[in-house]
Amino acid sequence: MRRTDGLLAFFPEESDEPATLSGSCANIHTRERPLASAACTIIEVTSRHRGEWERVSNLSDLNMGTSRTVATDTQHVLLQVENVAKSFGGLQAVQNCSMQVRSGTITGLIGPNGAGKTTLFNLISGFYAPDAGSIVFQGKRIDGLPPHRIFHHGLCRTFQVPKELKQMTVLENLMLVPAGQAGERMGTAWLIPWRVRRQEQEAYDKALDVLEFVSLAHLRDEYAANLSTGQKKLLELARAMMTDPRLIMLDEPGAGVNPTLLDSLMRQIERLVAERGITVLLIEHNMAVVMGLCDPVIVMSNGEKLAEGTPAEIQRNEQVLAAYLGGQNR
């Protein structure tokens, strides 16, 4: 419980004006972040897939009970992590960690090695259940749910070490992803082949679009095992793009990607936000990526949130510098 009240000054959440956000980062990276249009896209995307989300949320209501539905104070907070803790044996990987991700942002999560960033990702995406605290996504508690249920809430993640499905083609790595495929029920290939074929066509078309987007289209029939590390990173991103999630969590999307590709990767992440209204939370060690792409930036150290602010604020923050340069001491 070493959180300092002074750090609260770094929370930009109280000032909710897009002007402040874009103004503060204009000197770092010349790009436009049309928040208003992004918000519109979100509404479009959500209404387009409303049937699916409704079905999913009905299911989760049944299973979680209405008592778990938590009202949000502001509709702009997409993900709210509250006092979450997780330990492995004697190691306290995440302790008393609170943070939030707002709609339409690219939120950066940085911190020294072992700060608990990936553990936090695993907690949010359901691979670990937190020892304490709560995780609320779109007004619903998701902590303790299994990963496949959390995915259907509209939250999608990639992995730090690429987890390509090795003995499957790049195309089928992507075609696996779409939710609600009738063909995924046993025997439907015999019972309703026409419907399975139609959905396969849709998934195929979409996969080709996404592969064009990440410049992997020429490798679509290659086994994923044969891709280079950078290409596998792109495959991770491409798989995430096969869905229409509300939030994509990217675990070091730039690691192992060559500088040219990295530049295009950053632009693609920006396009995800601008064109498809997806919110992004990303872990990254490459400071050029973080400072150029993310706003706000959250700093973790020793399993806790140390600071949050615009890239410029984070760069000036002495505690952050101490955490990085002076090991874990603050």
């Binding site: 083609t169 089928e172 082949p193």
Partner: protein, 329 residues
Amino acid sequence: MTVEAILSSGLLNYLVGFLIVASIYALFTLGLNVHFGDTGLINFGVAGFFAIGAYTAALVTKPLPTGELARYTQQAFGLDQPFLVGIIAAALVSGIIAVLIGIPTLRLREDYLAIATIGIAESIRLVFNNEQWLANGSKGLVGIPRPLYDLVPTAYYNYVYLGIVIIVLAVVAVLLERMIRSPWGRVLRAIREDEVVAAAYGKNVFAFKLQALVLGAMVMGIGGALYAHNAGTISPSVFEPVFGTFIVWVMLILGGSGNTKGVILGAFVFWAIWAGTQFATDAFVPPALNSRAPHFRFLLMETLLVLMLLFRPKGILGEERFVSTLRPR
């Protein structure tokens, strides 16, 4: 026995018998392929489902023993039903047992699943061995009826049974191939490759694994039923791990794990080697050494497995690059 004697006793009949057994093994291999080849479930308990299929078919199709036989035979029930009912019952009971096995074991890591399935298969065999009332204990069951037995003279009956077995094998293979080469099979392969990814992308890994376990077990159960009707008599010693499980694994790896045609081919090629070496030792090895021959055959089988894993780990055919055939080309 000399070569002439074998020829005169009906080489063709020998071949038919060979094809029947190979086809039955092909069914076990198809079932194991759903488990391991498609889903990555390491099931070292094929013999368990083999036994359940065989005993279920026997008890469903056999009448209760009467007269003198009743003094020596105990069986829990004997329903005296037709062959087809026995086959369906064998598949269903194997499937139900698979659900009961799957619920506690499928959440285990894959190596623990392997250990658990060995134990379960041995337990099933020992239950049949020790529970006299159930199916006559270690003495086993005799007189399991043979389908369409009165259709042709007894000397030609094997041809009829071969036809039945081949039809069942073809139907099962076609059904499975279409089921697997679909988005459903794609999820199974994703689970085999990395179940964490499948879960991260919204697939209920446990449910898919359970479906695969049940489907494969049902196919194994059908194989067991066909075995029982072919042999006419079964006892617990039939279901020991070497012939019940290990051989099936060698066939799977030899033919090409993950490929429906490959695993059927693997069953036939392996059984040809197995039966062929028996034929050769019977014909050419002097009687003094004949008793040692089986050990050399096991050595040969194991060498074959190791060579296959070293030089052609994907098997004779290997699996197809694409899972789903319903996608556009």
